[in-house]
């Protein structure tokens, strides 16, 4: 009697359903991914025809000012006089800093001028008035 029946163990990973799994993963990540949203303050920026895009995204720091004259940098409410110190730190870390001024259209120019004075004190001279396309 022969006992030498060869037992062939097939060791294949079935790959036919691989695309399905990958698609499932894609869908899962698509649905669950949340892009980092801007927080800042609720503002309505003015519209302008000469609006340009800012390319250097990594050099941008944001300064928000809402119509109640509250100023926010990095999601913290600060006073006008504290702006130069905070922006100065950012400028020391990155010399190519561009300050994006997200200012509500109802803010008075006195406030804007005070902020600009603070920025000049911090040597952050490149600014961008955030506007919408008109």
């Amino acid at each position: 009697m022969k006992f030498t029946k060869k037992q062939q163990v097939s060791a294949n990973i079935p790959t036919s359903s691989m695309p399905d799994i990958i698609f499932m993963l894609i869908i899962f990540f698509m649905v669950t991914t949340v892009f980092k949203e801007f927080r800042g303050l609720p503002i309505l920026t003015p519209a302008a025809r000469s609006t340009e895009k800012v390319e250097a995204k990594r050099n941008i720091a944001y300064l928000w000012t809402d119509k109640n004259n509250r100023i926010s940098i990095d999601d913290k409410i600060v006073t006008v006089n504290a702006v130069s110190g905070l922006v100065g730190e950012k400028y020391a870390a990155n010399r190519r800093l561009i300050i994006s001024l997200k200012i509500d259209k109802e803010v008075k120019m006195g406030m804007v001028s005070d902020i600009q004075e603070q920025l000049r004190e911090a040597y952050a001279l490149r600014v961008n008035y955030s506007t919408r396309f008109k």
Binding site: F38, S50, K105, K108, M109, Y123, R126, V127, S130
Partner: protein, 141 residues
């Protein structure tokens, strides 16, 4: 007679069209996703305590904006919609330097109670007129 004919229920999810659905979803998200771009008007502030550049008075166009949003161009009232043309003509009058930039310097001065929106509208018109030398004067107290 055979009554108990077993009905085979097909419990299967059709996966053949799965790829199509996934591609449709992929295309949908590709089309609808907008990446938030920063946009606005670029401006470089003057250095604090920097040297004062003397400019011939004739080469400056003075724009004054008051609290009510009324604009004076070289002491003459002007409508917001006329600023662009007026500045454009002034630029043409003064000519261009050897780099092709206009010689004319536009100075914008506002009051402390002027709305930021009004200021941006004036700045926008000046930029659209092609002026590159723009001076922002400190608001009057």
């Amino acid at each position: 007679m055979l009554v108990n004919k077993k009905r085979k229920k097909v419990t299967e999810i059709y996966t053949s069209s799965m790829a199509d659905i996934a591609f449709l979803l992929l295309i949908f998200f590709l089309v609808t996703t907008t990446i938030d771009m920063d946009k606005g008007i670029n401006l470089t502030l003057p250095e604090k305590g920097g040297e004062q550049v003397k400019i011939k008075k004739g080469n400056i166009a003075n724009l004054l904006v008051n609290e009510a949003g009324q604009v004076l161009l070289d002491d003459e009232p002007i409508d917001m919609s006329q600023i662009q043309n007026a500045i454009q003509e002034k630029i043409k009058d003064k000519g261009f330097d050897k780099d092709g930039k206009p010689i004319l310097v536009v100075s914008i001065k506002t009051a402390r109670d002027t709305d930021y929106d009004t200021y941006i509208q004036v700045l926008d018109n000046v930029k659209m007129a092609g002026a590159t030398k723009i001076s922002i004067a400190e608001p009057e107290q």
